[in-house]
Subunit: 217 residues, 2 copies
Amino acid sequence: MLKLTKLKADSSTEQKIRDAAKEVFIAKGFSGCTSREIAKAAGMNVALVNYYFRSKTALFKIIFEAAMGDFLLSMLDVFNTDLPLEEKLRNYLDREYEFLAKYPEIPSFIINEMGRKDGVHIDNTAVFECIEHTGIFAECKVEQAAGRMREIDITSITVLMMSNCQFPFMAAAVIKQVHGISDEQYEKQLVQHKQIVTDMLIGYLFPGSISNQKTQK
Amino acid sequence: MLKLTKLKADSSTEQKIRDAAKEVFIAKGFSGCTSREIAKAAGMNVALVNYYFRSKTALFKIIFEAAMGDFLLSMLDVFNTDLPLEEKLRNYLDREYEFLAKYPEIPSFIINEMGRKDGVHIDNTAVFECIEHTGIFAECKVEQAAGRMREIDITSITVLMMSNCQFPFMAAAVIKQVHGISDEQYEKQLVQHKQIVTDMLIGYLFPGSISNQKTQK
DNA sequence: AGCAATTTTAAACAAACGTTTAAAACAGAG
DNA sequence: CTCTGTTTTAAACGTTTGTTTAAAATTGCT
């Protein structure tokens, strides 16, 4: 055999570094952590980080794109169902809060790193068309034309959804400090905030819907 | 005279460093920039940063608290008017979008730095009571008791407001890249998004208000 | 002018950074 | 066991980091 010994390598060490890097990068950002910190978190020597992944920058790109992917995947398979639009959006909100409860730091991570002057740049067409391919946008336009959905451009709809899902997790530290509430209290807060957000968004986007006639409280 | 010469010092150099630090810190965060970068932005020698402000950390605290103050002040004098609550919230949304158009990076800055494990910690009671002292929360409870405002806890109300104001500015880079729109296009987007947010929030918080009967576009 | 205090500078400091090296430890095949 | 390629280690690399130093320039006062 020529060089098939290489195939077994990708299990332990490389994956441990990848996992540690994911945790550290997402928690602290690219410039907020060091190669040695990642190595230590993985229980490895510093040199191994560059042995498996050429450089800190190269490793970061891998982690970032994976995070971006996880985030996208979570929304895509909600949109790929064939429920009515309103139910799809309800499910999206459910899923989003569920995802964010599990990975609350990912939106900050993506937003910060993409906002940096010298930050990462994604293939914009890929992400957008990935979502558009689910037909969700077309579906919105159909509902809007039928008068069942409020006439708002797609961009604003997505910003409304993202704002009300992601911000409560991104600003958790500030909100907890300002309102002087504990971690457990804020978790409960988030549960009821999800309900409020759902009521508000569905009520606003589908003004005539039967599901929000006198559903206040 | 003993040592009154010191009084004139605070005009030029010190202020230039402060201004440069504000710009650089807010744009890149504490760990995203260096002392030398700040000095260069101010056109000064590195040592002067530590001559006027003991350390990078000390300078950062000053900048952070100033940013926090600016942000608070902007909302406080809206709440200190004696307009009806609904008008107050409308004005708040106006002011917030105006402020954020001018300083779009401040929310990210505050949220990121306060979210860091070893990040800055504010005097939580100070900020909260500063807002409470305007009577805005009491006013909400009065309106809620009178059945004119939806029964939602104060925390959720503030989170709703902040989410829909701050997030569109914080995530600007991501949204622009994903939707493939230019800076100018996104500015227009924000103008109409403000209107949408206002309609939605007012409509949700004051369900019976005359100002949102059939105001859909 | 001359003097004392303040402000600015260039240089240096140790520590930490990302990255590379060269040798050691390990694995599998003959 | 030996040999070969892969994985891991400790050490060092040249920079850059925040900070300090000590000398130079500047200022304000008499």
